[in-house]
Structure formats: structure tokens, C-alpha cells
Subunit: 278 residues, 6 copies
């Protein structure tokens, strides 16, 4: 046998044993309904490689990745061009995770992957709520006649968990009807305490990386300027530390659109810090 040493090819700091892990990281390389620029299908693999440019230790949370006890399960394989079958594959695998008493940490892919995650998780918790970081409302009923679109994911999710159980952060783009929906259901969180109504809920945190400013995250499908600074996002994460997070995902990195690799590095750190609060 070879004596090595070998570079580890899984996410830095992961637990190699599925059974002994609390959180299951699952790559979801799907970008089939993206309305502008696609390419998020390549995010999970590039993020995994970039994780080795990070440290395992988070000074902000004074904690190690090893403390998180997560397992990198790899990336699901999807039938290209078939949105419905893809969503089904995701839903079933996420169900497996919760049947095993664990929590999911999805790595998109596009934002539509969140819908089957929510669908699956909602079968295990009757008081599920969503904390949604995004530049876009994602509250359309359909896009160009298609119901299953990344622009509609939160609207569809609201039918599962109820609009009152959704809080949105960083939103700065959408149709007028969507902003009215946000107003009607009071989903927009302006300050930390706006999240307090979800204190007793089981929380699913979904982070569309375009919630960050284009300066930090040019490598995404629909870059939208005027967004959160990284440390602002971290402020929200710190506040969420005291909530009961039962699942999470980070979506919409399109790594090929930022040849500098900085967007991928940022995405990777967002994931590390979000793992820290789960």
C-alpha cells in the first residue's frame, strides 16, 4: 500500500462516518430553471476544493469545524433537463437524512433545490419556519409560465410552512406584487428582533449567496448590487445561534463567473460559519 500522506478530498473538517455525524452536507448540483446565468451546478465540487484554503477554526464563534460533527456525503446526480425528477431525488435523499435523525446542509445548485428540502423536512416537524437570505423575493407564482422556477421557490415554500413562518433578509429586487406579498405577510426582517417571532419554531435557514453585495459575490447567476456586507450577514448568523436550526442550505454560487476564485472562497466561508451555528 501507499504510505502517503494524501490530501483529504472531502470537505475540510468533516466526519468521515455518516452514522456518527449530526449534520449531513449534501451537494445539489442543479441549475435547470435559472432565469439569467446558470453554472451553479459546478458549485459543490469547487467549494469542496476551496474549503482547504480555510482554517478549521472560526475566531468569530471560537469553535472548530470538527466540533460541528458534519459529514460530507458528496453530490447527488440528476437527470439533466428534467426538473421534476431532480426535485424528487432531492426530496427523497433529504427524507433519508431525517429518518436517520440527522439534519441536512444543502450546497446548491440553484435556489429551487430548497423546495424539495423544505418539503422533506416539513414531514418531520409540524412547526417549521424559514429564514431566507436573498437579494430577490423569489415569491413569483411562476416564471415565463413555469411554476417550478428558482424565482418562485419561497412562494411555493410558503404554502408548506405558511407565509407567517417566513422571514426574509436582504431582499432588494422583485416585482411589485412580490413586495406587496412581503408587506401583507410581514415577511421582511429589518432588524434582528424581527426574527423573534420564530423563536419557538424549527428553523430552516436558506442562504442565496446573492444576498451579499456584488462586490463580494460577483460569481452568481443574477448579481444584484446594494447587498449585505459579509460582516452584516455574520451579525444575523450570530443572532440565529440561539434559534433551533434543523436544516440549512447555501445556494446560487456560479463559480465559473468569477475566475478570481474569490466568490468561491466567500461561499465556502459562509458555509463554515453557518455550520458553526447549527
Amino acid at each position: 500500500m501507499l504510505r502517503g500522506p494524501f490530501l483529504d478530498r472531502n470537505w475540510m473538517g468533516q466526519n468521515p462516518d455518516y452514522d456518527k455525524s449530526d449534520i449531513i452536507m449534501l451537494g445539489l448540483p442543479f441549475d435547470g430553471t435559472v432565469s439569467y446565468r446558470s453554472g451553479s451546478r459546478f458549485a459543490p465540487e469547487q467549494i469542496r476544493l476551496a474549503s482547504w484554503g480555510l482554517e478549521e477554526y472560526s475566531p468569530r464563534f471560537n469553535k472548530f469545524l470538527g466540533d460541528v460533527n458534519f459529514h460530507d456525503a458528496g453530490d447527488l446526480e440528476f437527470p439533466l433537463g428534467n426538473t421534476y425528477k431532480t426535485l424528487e431525488v432531492i426530496e427523497k435523499n433529504v427524507e433519508d437524512i431525517y429518518k436517520d435523525g440527522k439534519r441536512v446542509f444543502g450546497i446548491g445548485g440553484e435556489h429551487l433545490v430548497t423546495l424539495p428540502e423544505i418539503t422533506a423536512v416539513s414531514k418531520f416537524f409540524n412547526n417549521l419556519a424559514i429564514v431566507h437570505f436573498d437579494a430577490h423575493t423569489d415569491l413569483r407564482e411562476e416564471y415565463l409560465g413555469e411554476e417550478m422556477s428558482h424565482s418562485a421557490v419561497i412562494r411555493h415554500a410558503s404554502k408548506i410552512v405558511g407565509a407567517k413562518n417566513i422571514k426574509q433578509i436582504g431582499i432588494r429586487s422583485g416585482m411589485k406584487e412580490e413586495f406587496e406579498f412581503m408587506k401583507e405577510h410581514n415577511t421582511l426582517a429589518h432588524k434582528y428582533s424581527d426574527l423573534d417571532v420564530l423563536k419557538d419554531k424549527k428553523i430552516f435557514v436558506t442562504v442565496d449567496l446573492d444576498v451579499l453585495d456584488t462586490s463580494i459575490m460577483p460569481g452568481t447567476g443574477t448579481p444584484e448590487v446594494g447587498g449585505l456586507e459579509f460582516n452584516e450577514l455574520m451579525g444575523w448568523f450570530e443572532y440565529l445561534k440561539n434559534f433551533d436550526i434543523v436544516g440549512a442550505d447555501v445556494v446560487e454560487l456560479a463559480p465559473d463567473y468569477d475566475a478570481s476564485g474569490a466568490s468561491t472562497a466567500v461561499a465556502t466561508k459562509v458555509i463554515r460559519e453557518l455550520l458553526m451555528i447549527m
Copy 2:
């Protein structure tokens, strides 16, 4: 009113009048079933801009774009993530073109767009044949369980026109079964005269730009080295000048993958020269 002068925003050398044109150029910005890297949805618009870096005159064919009498009809709009509806929109519009006594020149998008074009054109000619330039056989029956895939487009087309009416040029990648299909049906053309069996047919020419070597065409979904030089492709075009071409398309440019713009420039010149022989 403004006195200008203004830059023309259509394809260089086009005829602005649909009714008086012989050939209708149609942008087909669809890339939903791409198995590796997508982005060909942005090709039609970038090719149109790049056309202004060309000359209208082709020294090879001693002919002007103006002599071709083609009209740039713009780019179709598709429902994202819905492959079947997209194919339907293409098929109907291409039918319109032939009902009007004209010929189509499609600008992909991915290679699957060729299928509804062929379907439509075959309704108007009972002796349709296909000349297929590509690195890949595109002869799968399905890809990851999906029948409608850019990897299966020529297989499906063969069911419409008959495998004996297909000639393939530049093929260098595929599954063993696909190469056996090629052998069985003698579809691979090695030299110009291999095309002569199609002399009395109505020809649809479909050019997947990855038929060109990766050195010339890095900006494509699945770059495949060892391909044709540009002047080799032009040799085939010159030979095809004497065939009865009733439709054509050029597909699979992914412009964002070649930031130098060279791939887009090449695609644009392929289109100009292909127009010259129609």
C-alpha cells in the same frame, strides 16, 4: 427626430424585410439539457454583436452577405426549465418560416434545438437528409434517463429522416454503441465524396461548433480536442455549395467560457460562410 447616424443592431448585412427575404435567421437561446457546461443561451445575442467585427464580403466565396438575402428575426423566448414546451415553440416558428416559403438558419443554443427544426422542416420535404458536423455522435437514446437531451438529438432525428440519410463529419467522441450505430448505418463521412449519396436530397446542415478543435473553439460546452481546423470545415462547406440546402443551424457556442471573444468571432464567421453556400 434624431439625425444619427446610428449603429445597426441587427446582424450585419441582413435584409430588414422578412417578407422579401429568402432565409430567416432565428436565435434559439436554449441550453437546458446540456450535460457538462451550459451558457449557449447567450450565444445568439453575442454573435449578433460580433457580426460587426466581420466584413460583409467573403473572399472564399467571392460573395457579399447582402447577396444571401437573409433576415435576422431575433431570438425566441422560452419557458425556462421546460424542455418540451421549448421544443414546441421552436417547431411552430420553424413551420411558419417554411409556410412562408423560406428557409431557416437557426442560431443555438444547445444542439437539442435541431430536433424541432428537423421535425418542422421534414413536414415540407419528404426527402430530407442531414449533414451533421460535430465532435460527438449525439446518437444516445437517452442521457441519465432523459430522452430529450442534446446527446441524443441525432438519434432522434434519424427516426425522422432515416439513418441512411444522415452523414456525420468530425465525430471523435461517443459511446461504443454510438460508434457501432455509425458503422452499421455508414453515417461517418471521411471524404467529400462520401456526401454524394445525398446529392438528390434536401439537406439540413447542422453545425455543432465543437466539431472545430478546442484551440479554435474553447468557448463551448464540451470542448473536445483533436478536431477540425477552420479551413477543413470550409473545405466541406465548399463541397456542400452544390447541394440543395433547405435549412441550417450553428449551435453550442458558450460565449462566457471564452473571455477573449475569439470563440464568438469564429462562430460568427462560420455562420457567415454557411450562409454563403445556401
Copy 3:
């Protein structure tokens, strides 16, 4: 005829009818006097394509692009290498716009295009003032012996409208003499109310995109770090909402220098929001 649907190839939300529009958007693809990196000649066409990645609705101004009633007139064509003739073409077309009782919205190109715009507009208003967003003073008398330079545009404009009718925002680079000019004429605006002296004037707003920080706008000729955040720029726009803006332009995007497309996306949103306050 073709049934479509077709993608619109004009700026999103424009009014296709020149005569019925209030504002005329005019592409000015000139970059002949740029002192460092050129390429802004490609901005108007790429911005137009990128506009389709935006929403028509601006949550900040609670208004639609359709409410603005602007017409996308396309891009002027210039004689390459001849600065003076280019400026003449711009001046004449802008005059046309004001003769027709409309206002111009120029899309550069480099900053020198603002000079003929100002020249033309000043013929229609005797109390014209300029609000100038920029990293650079642009107050040189000449650059390397050339009077007509993008580094001199505001100095020349000051001779038309008077230095006291110019307010500059975001300036952080220039020669000592230029900073002394700014001091002498009190042109630098530090806070919103510094603009109030222009309250009764007709305002031309000119935005050199390098006023934004390099992190947001790397795709520009002379990136200058330490600039405005996007939301800071928007704060100034909100304040200007109550001024009488009779013309505007947004200049100096060099799209090829930011292959991520983020700079182009930002420029496009700056334009959308500036349209909202006119």
C-alpha cells in the same frame, strides 16, 4: 409571419415610440481619449443586454421602468480616431432631442461625451447646472497637450455653465491644481445639503461609474479604490429626486475588464435608478 414569442432587444421597459417618450436614451460608444484602459465603447450594447437581468420595478422608488417613459434610441456611430467629429455628432443629436421637447439620457462611452451633451443642453436652458459623480476631478485644462480629453471634461463644461454651478461628489483623485480649483469654486459636495444652491437650476447629472468603489466597479478604465458604496450613491439619487433634472448620463463602464459581468450589472442598475428620479 412568425408567431414568436421573441425576446425584446431594446432596453427593458422602454417605450418603443420616440415621439411619445419623455426621455431619450442614447448610446455613445466613444473611448478615444481615455488615458489608461479603454473599452467603454462596448458599454451601451452590453448594458442593454444586461438590462434583462433586472426587474422593471424599483423597490427603492416604488416605481416601474414603464412609468419613466423613456425610449431607447440605440447607439450613435462615430468616425474612429476623430475626436472632434465625434463630439459634433453627439452635440447635434442631443440638440435634436431638446428641439423635440425631450430630455437626453446618455450611455457612455468615456466621460468626454458629456461635453457635447452639455453644450447642446445649454442652448436650451440658461440656468444649467451640473451634478458630477466621479472619482476623478476631470478638471485639467489638457492632458499630454490635448485639450479634448476625458480628464478635462468638467473643466471645459465649467466654462459653459460656470464653475459655481457645478457640484462634485465622490472625488478622490486628481492633480493638486485641480483640488485647488475645487476649493476655490467650492464645487465639492460633502453632504446632501451642499446641493441646495442648485435647487432652482436645471440640473444635468453626470455619473462616471468609477465614483463607485473598485470593489463594485472593477470594469472601468481607471479603477480608483476608496469610493462610494452603491447605497451611498443611491442616497444622493434620492436627494436629487426633488431637483429639476433636464438631462443625465452614465459613463466609463469598460465591460470587457470585468469578465464576471458584475460591473455591467451594477452600471445597469445605476441607470435604472437614475431614470427613476428624472
Copy 4:
């Protein structure tokens, strides 16, 4: 447990069982002595990902990757900045491979990695010869005073196997002394039959990817125009099919220098085809 399906994260077509494999693919991510542009340290991981854009079937050799029976052992981990320790780690692991009765297939990294491979392999065969594809002679005694340099690798190797047991292909750059060395020892192969003197030897094939023309392989440390076309390289591979190849490597891809990904795709196909002839 999760039902998947999951994407395979090893090289396409590999045998997951080290013990039952004939060839061991070993990533060697070292680029510490590169004289111009480094970055080949990232090649093994990007090549592995890109392998999934290939087909398992090689039409040229009418053979499947699965037929090759190779195992992807992963990438060695090296002490950064310490050239000597790095070479030692490589040498020991390659020795392990031959002790286990297998052959190595190294994926660089820079060309100096070939030296410890040769050193190790030479311990198992007393009639080792080298077939060296490269743009550069790599025959310096030292570079800027350093003996251990990628520019000196073949000179050092010649001391192990003897200069007469080296054949070089594609060489087009070097110092005069190096060309004289080549002449003196008759190492340059112009035509296939020049290799015949090695017919009874055990062959180690080392491919510096810059042997290919810059048009095909811009993503390398020292691109050198005027090189082999891909099909020319394949011609040599076909001829080598009848030689007794006991080890091989492919080095000097610098993936970040070709954002189009084409260089990585080419490197991956070179590897597939070289595997086919072993």
C-alpha cells in the same frame, strides 16, 4: 443511509480497489521550482473533475477506460517550499507502487516530479528508458544556481538511465548547450522509427503538456508556440502502443491560466489516451 444516486468523485472509469488494479494514478501537486508561471499544483484536482466531461470509450483505441484497470489513489500532500522533502515523498510512494507489482501514472504538478518517479522506477528495472514529450529540453545542469529545477529534470534523469536511453519529442526551446547535448547523445526523435532503439527497454513516458502548441494548451507555465497538434501527439502514442511502458506521467498543466477550461479538458484527454496504450 442515503439512497443517492451520487456523482462519483474519482477519476472516471477507475477501479476503486487499489489491490486489484494494474496502474496507480497518483496526483503530484508540486510546483515549487517553476521558472516562470506556477499553478500546476492545482492540476490533479481539476483534471479529476474534468474527467467527467469525457467519455469512457476511446474511438481511437477502440477501448474503454474500464479496460485499463487503473486506480485513482488521490493526491499526495507535500511540505510547501521544501523541494527535497517533496521529492522524497514522491520517490517513496512510487516505490510502494512497484513493490506492489503495479505501475505508476503520475499527474503533475511541475516536471521535476518526474525525477523521483524515475529514481524509484529505476530500482525495479535495470533497462529503463525514457520517452520525453516536451517543448523544452529540460537538460540544464542547474537553473539560477539550483540543481533541483524543472528545467533540469531530464539531465538529472539521464544520469540514472543513461542519455542514450532517452528519446525526446517536440523539443523547440532551450539553451545552445542543451541542443548540443541532444545532438551529441542523439536524443531527439524526428520520426516514429527513431524510437525503435528503445524497443527492448522498459519505457517511462513523460509528457510535459507544453509539447502541445500554445493554441491547444495555453494553460501551462511556459507556453511555447510552434508545438505539436493533438493528433500528432496521438500518432506517437499509437506507435508507442507496442512498447513496454512501465510508468508514465503527464505534467505542467496550470489550470487557472486558462479560464475557458479547454487546457484542462485537453490534459484530461491526453491522460485518457495515454492510459489506453499502457
Copy 5:
């Protein structure tokens, strides 16, 4: 002879006469121990070119580059792959500078170049202190078994000047042990006045450009989000104006990783402003 005029090929505003200069700018193109992405070897030459995109006048410090009286000595040449000899070359040249009664301004290259600079400078001042701007602690004892690593540079420097004479700004990544070292020795400066303990010391300022946020500085080896804005860094520079700075360097620009050139432009301005306070 040629009448010119010629473009100056040295740093803008430098004094061409070494003997009459106070500060010697020294290019240090070494990147041999970089743990993630290398390429900082190309920084000195690209920064020099980019300096001509700046103005000589700094509005912030109301001072000209010409006032600084610095000489651009060019870039040292190093033996590739030999870390120890490289460090020796740097140390000797920096000694030369101080023997001549001048101060060094190093342009990296990677951060390890600071160690021989400090070693040399410490021979001339017995009360040397370090102000260290960085995202990373750089306080490891070794990295992958190597003592000489850019990750260990400040730890080694602390042995020369004493940990109590080090102040660190912007640190946000490292191992737990490193953060404990920082705590134990109270090296982290949170506010300007934390630097006051160094008021009577001779200060060496070392700026690892990744102290800036990734949005401003994607072109660096290990981009680390959540960093300083440019104007925050300038605030620290303004405070340092009143300290006795006897040497400085700016390191870790990897220009090829930011094709937009913005990172290089930022690095260049950091250097200009740091020169202003010396």
C-alpha cells in the same frame, strides 16, 4: 539619439538617483512557500506598470509622490525553489540599504519576504517594533513541517523584536493556538490608540494585502472575506503618520488572479499612501 518623448518605466514619481533618495523601493518577487495560490512573484512588475494609472498627488495627505524622495531599485532575482538562499539575498540587500542610511520599502512577493527584511533592519535599531496588517495571524511555528513558511513569518519575527513589540490589525483567520498567542501577548489592535505603546519605537509596517476585504482584493493567494475597507486601512495609515517608520513592505498581491486589474490598482494605491506617511 532619439528625441522621444518616452514613457518612464520606473515607478511614477520616483527619484532616479539612489544616492540622493531616502527610501529604496525593492521588488521581492518570491512566492515559494505559499500554502494555497501562488503568483505574487509577478506583483512588483505589474504594480510598477499600474503606478502610471495613479496621480502623483495624494489628496488625503496633500502631498506628492515626488515629496517622498524614494528610489525604485528594481526587482531582486532569486534562485527558484530555494527558500533559504532567497531569504539570504533579501537580507543582504536590505542591509545595504540601511548601511547607506536609507529605509526599505519592499514590494512582495509573499509574506515570508518580511522575515529577512526584519532581520536586516533589526541590526540597525535595537527598539524595532512591527505593525502588521493581515487577514491571517501568520503565527504558526511551521506549516506542513516547514519552519520557513509565509504562515509563520510573524511568529519568527516575534523572536527578533519580541512579541510585545508587535501590533496586528485586521486579523480574522488562523488556528486557535495562534489566536491564543495573540491574546497572551496582546498583539491585536482594535482601535488606533492600541498602537500608542509603540510610540517610542522604530516601526516596521508590513501590509499583507489580504487584510483588505476580498471584494477589494480578490487577486491574492488566500482571499479572506470580512476584511477592512480601503478607507479603514487609510485611517490606520493616517494615525501611523506620527510614528517613526523605519521600513515597510506591501505583500501578497497575485495579479494574475484578478484579470480586471482592480486588485493591482488597489495595491498600487496602498503603496502610494504608505509612502506618504514614511
Copy 6:
């Protein structure tokens, strides 16, 4: 003083002494009349840096750069946006070179720089001829109304040396009138011996790098596929070795359009080999 060693910042292998040199290399960073993509203004400085990635020895010509005895005079400085003054500066400096009994080797910049070179050189030789490598005829009388355009440079030059004293190689794009001009004056050289009519002339060799195929030279203003391979260009150079070359230039590299650096590397080698035959 500093002991160094320092990297040389001039062209590799140059003679530092103008007076003792035979050939004067002159950077001509002008791109003001470019019809499509500009940026060749940055070529001279990037080529100079890239020269250090070459060897001084040319195996093809068995000769060293040192044998050529050329001096790198640096890059001229031009008034931006003023074409006529720029041409005048070039003409005067080139005259200086010939007054000093030397020959020019211009590094563009765009192709229009050749006109003042020819003008100057023609004052010293009454039997001047031009060998013109290019994709484009450059035989227009004007472009968009401008006489001074890079598209017209050879037409204007023909008025100085006579159309019969011009031979063109690699031409593949132009207007019909231009091709007719070529025919009428028999300027197109198809085979080496077509150059023999110029055997007794003094030759100026002008190489527009887009004569090379786009695969080799994507980093140019108007990439034109179907061009020469590098070794084909070298074949012409070898034939020209026996001609009396009194001046030369290499133009139209736009380095920023090829982030891989390969185009710059190719341009640099073209220059090295062209120097070898002078």
C-alpha cells in the same frame, strides 16, 4: 549600493548601449483608430516582461538574441486622442534612428503606426518595399470617413513605395474593392518565390499578429480565424532571411483580451525570430 542580483527590466538579450547597437526596438503604444477592440497600447510593456519567459537561443536560426545587437529604447509617449500628432512623434523618432545609421524594430500598438515608420524609412531608401503579414488587406482609402485608420495603413503606404513594391501574406478579410486592388497590383504572395521580385529592394517587414490563426492569437483587436500556423509564419521568415531587411514591426497584440498570456508569449516569440533574420 545594493549588491543585487537584480532582474533585468529591458528586453531579454538587448544591448544596453544605443550607440553600439544596429537595431533599435521602439515601443509604439497607440491604439486610437482601432475599428473593433482596442488595447494594443498595453502590448509593448507586456511583451517586454514576457520576453523573460523565452530563451535567448533560437534553435530554428541557431543564433542568440545577443548576436542580433539590438537596443530596447523603451516606449514613446503619445498625446491621447490626437492621431496626427501621434504619427508625427513616431515619424520623427524613426528618422532619428536612420540618421544614426540604424534600423527600427517597432512594437505596436495598432497597425497605423506602420505608416509614419514607412514615411520615415522611405526618406533614407529610394527602393523601399513592404512585406505585409496580416489577416486584413488594410487597403481601404478611409474608414467611416477617416483617412487615418488602421484599416487604411497599407493603402497609404502604397502611395509612398508604390503598390508593385508591396507583397501581402495571409490576407483573408477585406472589402471586395480591396481584393480587387490586390489582384490589380498583384500584391498577394501565395508561395515563397512570389517575394523574389523584391530581391533587390530594401524591405520593411510589417507583421500584424492577426495573420496568425485566432487559435494562436486570440488576444488581438479583430481575431480572424483561418489564419497561418506559427510554423507557416516561420517558413516565410526563413525565406526572408536572404532579403535586405531595413526595418520591421510587429503590431496589434491586445494583451488584456487573452488572460492566459499565451497571445503575449506568441507575440514575443514572433519578435525574437523576426529579429533573428534582420
